[in-house]
Amino acid sequence: MVTKGINFSAICLVLSLMIAPSAMAREFADIYTDCGLGAMIAPHNSVVAAVTNVTWDLGTTAISSNISSPDSCHGGQAKSAAFIHDSYESLEKDIARGHGEYLDTLMTLTNVSKESQEKAVNNLRNNFASSVANQDYTNQTKFQKSENLYNLLYSQPSDYSLEKNI
């Protein structure tokens, strides 16, 4: 009986260790590495951008959609991370103005309820203003800026109903 109890406890411990990481907010850097963010759209390279119509690489398409990317890239956080990284410039402008379709989408991606959205946007704007006020902001890479915005979003107070896992 005792042995069974120990075995059961051991199984629970192993299971809990396996489940635990997914119950925490995933690191932006992990998602970046696992899911290959940035390969989703043509880079701002004039040569590549110029031939956008004919250069969609089938090898990279899976990353962006629901098709065959790794399971770890399907969840809301991975989706948010990719979205932030790819559309950072548009998000920056929308956050500054307090409205816009990219900001609306980001809010719903992070499960901010409609009722809480105004409050969440105000909070995000305040925190984002502190980031922009940082002297290093201009020289930060797109990765760093995206990571910072991602962290701001996933450190919002829980009453904005931001998802914390998936």
Partner: protein
Amino acid sequence: MTSKKAYAVVFSFNVCFFIIHIFLLYLPLFTNKLYHCFLLFFFCVVLGYSTNAIAYEGRHLNEDVIENLANDPTWLKLLHFKHNRSEILTEDFFLSPEGRYDSKAELVATINAYSESRSHKKDITPRCKFPARYFWLSQKMPLPHYKLHDPQCESFENWSLLNNVKSISLFLVSGYFGNPASVFGHSFLKLNTYSRDDQNGLFDLSINYGALVPENEPTLQYVVRGITGGYQAGFSDKYFYTHDLVYSRTEFRDIWEYELLLSDYQRTLLILHMWEVLGKKFKYYFLDENCAFRLAELLEIIIEEPFLDKVKSWYIPVETFFRLEEIDKHRKEKGKQGLIKSVRFHPSGQREFYYQFSQLTKKEKEAVKTIINDGASTSTTASFSEDSQLRIIDTVLSYYKYRLIAEEPSPAVEMREKKDKILLTRLRLPPQKKSLFYGIPQLKSPASGNRPMLMGIGMGQDSIENTYLKLHWSPFSQEFVGQNHLEGDELVVLDTTIGVRESDYSFFVDNFDLVRIRKLKTNFISIDDGNPWSWQLRLGTALTEHNEKSYNDGAFSFGAGRAWDLNKSISFYAMTDAAAHTIKPYARLRPNTGLIIDNNSTKSWWYAGFENMEDREKFNLVWGGQIQYKVSEQIAVSISFSRETTTKTSAEVKWYW
């Protein structure tokens, strides 16, 4: 041909032969059983004699059924058959080894694979890989236990969100002069979910078709291989926002969205088939078998009316949209439901920014300029109301965003610092729930203007040939005076005019333009310190008079200048063209001005300038004009006059198709 696959002959010829033989040999002994024997014989001959009848789920499908299904137009379209072979190059698109060349073999293999064990082959069974085939077959024959939503096909279910897709839209992206391959525009599909969580549809799935071009491909090689079939191509899927970011916000291209009116069956079949062809390789031909062609092929699977039956040697994206409009119109004329639910205009980032600036008051515009030039935002806007401050700062922020994209991939640090400064200023001002700028004018779709191909017939008169019959043709003609969406621009390719002499009915080339482009930046705003120049380019030949003889004068000319909208219907430009000619003087200059007047049905173009056309140092006046009246969607009449080296007058009837 294994029994497990059930691709087996039920009653082979040998079995039948044996039974018939027994029947005939022992006929006298079985006379009392004659009726039963006859039945046996009939069953054998009618159902079993064919070696191609197949066993399927305990039933037998005879030759006729299989033959009919194998030649069904929808089946052939699902296999992308053309000239008795599939255009798909990927081997695993076919279940039969002969599937690429034999639609019947592929059909039989598909039917037989239906019952393939699926308990341990999640996602990779034929039913999961080819859902459109089975969906279509389920309408044609009983498929036991068929379910549209198969729990085994998890990947497909995740991808398609089949129950969530409410409609399908076809997008037309305007031409892009930054790349020769994009000059004629682009098209792609989008699956609209109208999700409550994604009301802007940025995460809706979009299906794009494009060639696989290696990175850093040299331009010439790229063009040659693109035209001659040197690349493979395929369908890829992206979230819609990635297209929005590239086309609208990076390349500043306008987009028109055509939402289609489809039945549930049509919508489902199309989505299922997209899954089947995603990632499959085709051969790419820039001129005809391109993105527009393949998307039209997809539409032909579900829409009864043909899209590609009149394809010439080329096919450009706008042609699909002309066809959509045409089908919609015909259906409505017959009292049926149309094909187009709505047409929505998505303005480019540049158009939005220009519109934003145009909505400011004069004082606000001055403030915007001051901030851009001097950088001091707070002191400049202090005297303005809060609303005005927001409009000014928003516009400056839009300006920097626009300029930074235009300067990619290496925008100056100074520009980035200025942007961040204004970004912070805006963040410290109150947020707005809605845009301060709305009501951007809708640009009519290119498919609501003239069709691109032009054919004309008329009379011409000049000082060399006197009066002559004029035959005019161009495969792509978006002229100044035509009805198009180019807002005063012009793009004409292979513009050919043949003259027929009245005296002896002989032919001569009156005019041939390999390409003629005129790009007028009439909406350029003062704060946009990007390229303000309008430009024109022409490579061609024209019949001209030289030393009282007629010659075809080949010329390459390029000009640059500025253009302005004088009001809503009149544009004005001033340019200087430099040209190389094949007859003297070989090098010429032509400072010139022009007016384009748009009165809806009537459009005209007038120009005047000076050119050293007879002597290297002496400049002569050149002038001319053209006026065109739109009779119907496809027909127009045009009169033109020009006084240059040769004086020419002509009148013609044009047919756009």
